[in-house]
């Protein structure tokens, strides 16, 4: 699609990190130094998370999506409305990927909740990459870096236009229809 700049497009959402896919079976068949290295690489990548992001990292990650409309969603496993909203995000990504939508998820769970995060992602099989808010620092700084109007409530989403401009913030759980309406407006706009 000409409207989606491939130079800044990371892996397709449908093939987003699934490096943990039963790496252990292979590991047993590998021998020697190369095998150990490969096994280590596979073993280290058993996470369904695409990585950790602090405020600066998030800004850089968003910059990679310039040319696309981005729906950035903050969630947590303990947040019931976040879990309820999550399938709509995958549906949006699948429906509008070809028109240039990129959904990005960020879990705000604490490091101690990592296993719950992995379990949730395993069950959800999201069609978009999910990151984890990097541990450390004061949450207030992270919240303010995303948007000054954000009070810290979850779920919380931000819509960015193709030129990277922040177009809208969405507080609390949104319906698929509401999200779709706002996404379509931005996809249809020229900038």
């Amino acid at each position: 699609m000409s409207e989606v700049p491939s130079a800044h497009t990371p892996r397709e959402a449908t093939s987003w990190p699934r490096l943990g896919r039963r790496a252990h079976g292979r590991r047993a068949t590998l021998e020697g130094g190369i095998g150990i290295l490969l096994a280590a690489a596979l073993g280290a990548a058993t996470s369904r998370l695409a990585g950790d992001l602090n405020a600066a990292g998030l800004t850089q990650r968003l910059a990679q999506e310039r040319g696309r409309v981005v729906l950035l969603n903050f969630w947590a496993t303990w947040c019931e409305p976040c879990r309820e909203e999550f399938p709509s995000l995958s549906r949006l990504q699948r429906s509008y990927e070809n028109r240039g939508l990129r959904v990005l998820g960020v879990s705000t769970d604490l490091p101690s909740q990592l296993s719950a995060v992995e379990k949730f992602l395993e069950a959800q099989q999201p069609a978009f990459p999910n990151y984890r808010k990097a541990a450390g620092g004061d949450d207030q700084d992270f919240i303010d870096s995303v948007d000054k109007s954000w009070g810290g409530e979850l779920p919380f989403s931000v819509l960015y236009a193709r030129d990277g401009r922040k177009a809208m913030v969405l507080s609390g759980k949104q319906s698929y229809r509401d999200l779709e309406r706002e996404v379509r407006k931005l996809l249809n706009s020229s900038s």
């Binding site: 954000w150 009070g151 507080s171």
Partner: protein, 194 residues
């Protein structure tokens, strides 16, 4: 009049939600007055409470939110400790999904003996633009909002708190000193308005 799309988009930075919401009252402005019924059936008036206390701490809380529940012990302890100094702690449950009988049982289970008010139609949450639980507002005897935000920065472990923001605000207020951090933020559960 039809505005050019670019202007509309520039002006479109707005919050979408399933509810209409007022702006949060700024620190230093009069806190909106309200009257609600507590879960024990008694009427509670903020204006009355501020007159007879050195401060009133209004806490938006929940029964089912893990973030709010992580603070049950801290809320109980703070209410007891600062109660001796004339500070009144009040909980407000604005969640449509948490009925009064559930709020009563929750308070009993966690030993929350401070007044807890049910906020039908989340009118008070809207007045204060309260977004999530737990979220705290401190009001001084003249009815002015002096602090808004979190109890502290570490919901997971009370023993590792490094920024006891509510305590700091109350200590400053009680000793007539300026509150250094009058607005703070933390993650929390959205107040369930629908």
């Amino acid at each position: 009049m039809r505005l050019p799309r670019t202007i509309l988009l520039t002006a479109a930075l707005a919050t979408v939600g399933a509810f209409a919401r007022a702006e949060a009252p700024p620190i230093g402005s009069p806190a909106p007055n309200f009257t609600l019924t507590a879960i024990d059936g008694k009427a509670f008036s903020l204006a009355e409470a501020t007159k007879s206390h050195k401060a009133v701490v209004v806490m938006f809380i929940a029964t089912q939110c893990p973030y709010s529940n992580a603070y049950n012990d801290r809320m109980r302890e703070l209410a007891a400790a600062y109660g001796k100094d004339g500070v009144l702690f009040v909980g407000i449950n604005s969640n449509k999904t948490e009925p009064t009988d559930e709020v009563v049982q929750h308070a009993k289970k966690h030993g929350l003996t401070f007044p807890i008010l049910k906020d039908p139609g989340n009118k008070v949450a809207d007045l204060y633009d309260a977004r999530h639980t737990p979220e705290v507002f401190v009001i001084d005897p003249s009815g002015v909002l002096r602090y808004h935000g979190r109890i502290d920065e570490n919901y997971e472990d009370a023993s590792k708190v490094t920024s006891p923001d509510l305590k700091n605000a109350l200590n400053a207020l009680l000793s007539n000193k300026p509150i250094a951090k009058a607005e703070t933020k933390a993650f929390g559960c959205s107040i369930k308005r629908v």
